[in-house]
């Protein structure tokens, strides 16, 4: 499959994520949108990694593997982020009985 398809898909995913983060006020949805953006990046990494590997297989058998490694790192980070973020959201819900991020502006005062 041509690399362009992967690129377009990941741009679409990333934009959906951005719009979601900007427009939605529910913290959980915002979270999901952030995950969407991360995975858009993951998708691109894997696609490019595969492309490089195919192109340089003859001269370098391990070409492009580092892109795939990055994906694992991003997944780990994302998992950690989710666990912390969800914990925050749970705490927030306990305190204000809402997951609306605009409630958080009260931290300012």
């Amino acid at each position: 499959m041509k690399i362009e398809y992967y690129i377009f898909l990941s741009i679409a995913l990333f934009c959906i994520g951005i719009v979601g983060v900007l427009t939605r006020r529910n913290a959980i949805i915002v979270f999901m949108c952030v995950e969407l953006m991360l995975n858009a990046a993951n998708l691109l990494l894997v696609a490019f990694s595969k492309m490089h590997h195919l192109a340089q297989k003859a001269s370098n058998p391990t070409a492009g593997t580092d892109g795939q490694l990055f994906v694992f790192f991003i997944m780990v980070v994302a998992a950690a982020e989710v666990s912390v973020g969800l914990a925050i959201i749970v705490m927030m819900y306990r305190n204000v009985h809402s997951v609306d991020i605009n409630f958080l502006n009260r931290l300012k005062h």
Binding site: N105, R106, K108
Partner: protein, 632 residues
């Protein structure tokens, strides 16, 4: 012995430190012993050095102590130069200086202990600086001493610092000296640029191959420095005001240290001046103008110390005249004899002031002859010496200068002789109104009149002997072949200059005639003064109008400087303070503050606390970066 030359300035410096640091602990007698003892030590070492230098086989020695400045190609060593000229000055400074120190012990005995020690520490520092000045092996070391004497004169003139007037006199001395020092400093920089060295030896060696214009520039700048330090027109007004200090300090400033610095510097750089005839003429003209100008002011002064101060300015003018006409030996000779009789006269005046309980106005004196016999006799000898009556010391040195100026330009000689006559007149006016006639002070002063203690009279007597016989080291050739021991002694220092100068010898009859005229004029001056002032105190009344009033007010030079220099500067400073400072500088400073406050208030709105708006800003910023990255 000349290897130990560093001890000469070091001893006074130790004296300065000890007296200065332990001033609260030392007793007066101990302070006096330390203060005078270190100078005596220096004197003895100087004497030993002198005898070594005196030997025929002696060659100038340069003692390098350490590197002072080492930058790039320029290397300035902290070095001392021992040769005929510096060893002679060492003797004058430490010898006369020592007598003044001894005299001070009695003169200052009324001061509190710590002030007494402060006085002696300053005095030692003064001698130290002056020794550094004359010993320095290059212009930079000389400059250190040059600045040091300026500082010490400030400290000592303002010694009684509770008196505002005295403080002002001290400041005046310091500032006027600074103006001159700037010229000196510029000359040193120019030398570094031109010769790449400030060592005397290097500079003098390179001088003959340098263009005359450059040498003229350098020598004129050096001379600006000399006018400040040696009180020549236009920077002389500090010296009469310097009388605010204690009298022995005046003696030290006027006789042994400070004012002779300019003469020494030019005598040391004689080759530069000989190669720059324009500068020589400037030096001669300024010296001559100062000589007659200051002498005319001295005619009408009624303060015993002021008369002596103006006479110093006038005599320094003579020395510059000598330097200007190329009679370097004559100038140094006159420095020496002047040191003797001027120190004597100042110390004598101090003795009078001491006896009169700080009365300095000669209108309130008179008839002190029978109360102060020793002071009277020594003072009289000093007056005769300065008036130039043979065979006293002043005669020989003054005559040498006049003879040299005669063969250079007859106008110089005419004015010089006229000045000599005026000098004789005002010195004997001073003498007659102080010691002759009837006592004009109060009854109480009369009751307390007493001869000064022995520590004061012994220096007077010693100086009087020197003032009488000091001239015999320079007997002119007309009286005795090879009689001029000083010229013979100093010949190596001025050898290069003498080679360049065309030899001129007055025939003996002319020389006798010149001597005869100058002595006759001096004698006329003396008798005119004595007959006029010894019996008639009303002759001292200030003149109401005309030239007398002009002279009594010192030609209004101070007022002139006040009007054309100080006032405009003050007005300008006020303008800067009120207009520029308040309206422009303050406005800029406050404006920056206000701008920042306003700006911060505007930027504060961005921090809304809305998560959405933060994220939006983030995205917008990233987009902006992308746009910049791709399209610009």
């Amino acid at each position: 012995m000349s290897k130990l030359v560093y001890l000469v300035p070091l001893l006074p410096f130790i004296g300065f430190l000890v007296n200065g640091l332990f001033r609260n602990k030392l007793s007066k007698s101990l302070t006096g012993i330390i203060g005078s003892g270190v100078i005596l030590g220096s004197f003895i070492i100087s004497l030993l050095i002198f005898f070594e230098v005196k030997q025929e086989s002696f060659r100038p020695v340069i003692v390098s102590l350490f590197d002072f400045i080492n930058a790039g190609k320029l290397s300035i060593a902290f070095s001392f130069q021992v040769d005929q000229l510096s060893s002679l000055f060492l003797l004058i400074i430490t010898g006369v200086g020592f007598l003044i120190h001894v005299y001070s012990i009695a003169y200052m005995h009324e001061e509190r202990n710590d002030h007494f020690a402060r006085y002696f520490s300053y005095l030692n520092l003064f001698v130290f600086s002056m020794l550094l000045l004359v010993l320095g092996g290059n212009y930079v070391i000389m400059f250190i001493g040059w600045e040091g004497v300026g500082l010490c004169s400030y400290l000592l003139i303002g010694y009684w610092f509770k008196n505002t007037e005295y403080n002002n006199a001290a400041k005046k001395a310091f500032i006027m000296n600074r103006i001159g020092d700037l010229g000196f400093l510029l000359a040193v920089f120019w030398m570094i640029a031109q010769f790449g060295s400030v060592n005397f030896a290097d500079v003098f060696e390179a001088a003959p191959t340098t263009s005359v214009a450059v040498l003229t520039g350098i020598t004129l700048l050096l001379f600006v420095g000399a006018t400040g330090k040696s009180a020549q027109i236009p920077l002389y007004t500090w010296l009469p005001d310097a009388m605010a200090g204690p009298t022995p300090v005046s003696a030290l400033i006027h006789a042994a240290t400070m004012v002779t610095a300019g003469i020494y510097m030019i005598a040391r750089s004689n080759i530069l001046y000989t190669l720059a005839p324009v500068s020589q003429t400037v030096v001669a003209v300024i010296g001559l103008a100062t000589a007659i100008f200051a002498a005319s002011i001295a005619l009408k002064q009624n303060d015993i110390k002021k008369v002596l101060a103006y006479s110093t300015v006038s005599q320094l003018g003579y020395m510059f005249l000598a330097l200007g006409v190329g009679a370097y030996t004559g100038a140094v000779f006159h420095v020496m004899t002047h040191a003797f009789f001027k120190a004597l006269l100042f110390l004598g005046a101090g003795s009078v002031i001491h006896a009169m309980h700080h009365e300095q106005d000669i209108r309130n004196m008179g008839g002190l002859k029978k109360y102060l016999p020793v002071t009277h006799l020594t003072f009289l000898l000093g007056c005769i010496a300065i008036a130039g009556i043979p065979p006293f010391s002043g005669f020989f040195s003054k005559d040498e200068i006049l003879a040299a100026s005669f063969s250079s330009n007859i106008i110089y000689w005419v004015i010089g002789v006229l000045t000599a006559g005026i000098t004789a007149f005002y010195m004997f006016r001073l003498y007659a109104s102080t010691f002759l006639g009837k006592f004009r002070g109060t009854e109480e002063q009369k009751h307390h009149l007493h001869e000064s203690p022995v520590t004061m009279t012994i220096p007077l007597i010693l100086l009087a002997i020197l003032a009488v016989v000091g001239g015999l080291v320079g007997i002119p050739a007309v009286f005795m072949e090879n009689g001029h021991a000083l010229e013979h002694f100093l010949a190596p220092v001025f050898a290069e200059s003498n080679k360049l100068k065309e030899a001129h010898h007055l025939d003996h009859n002319t020389e006798y005639l010149l001597m005869g005229i100058s002595v006759a004029i001096a004698v006329i001056g003396i008798f005119a003064a004595i007959s006029r002032f010894s019996k008639k105190p009303e002759a001292l009344k200030p003149a109401e109008s005309g030239i007398g009033k002009l002279l009594a007010n010192k030609w209004y030079v101070d007022e002139l400087y006040q009007a054309i220099i100080i006032k405009p500067i003050n007005t300008f400073s006020k303008f800067l303070n009120r207009t520029i400072e308040k309206n422009i500088i303050d406005w800029i400073v406050n404006g920056i503050g206000r701008l920042l406050q306003y700006g911060s208030r505007q930027i504060r709105w961005i921090q809304s606390g809305q998560v959405g708006s933060y994220v939006l800003l983030m995205v917008v910023s990233i987009l902006v970066f992308f746009v910049i990255q791709f399209f610009f």
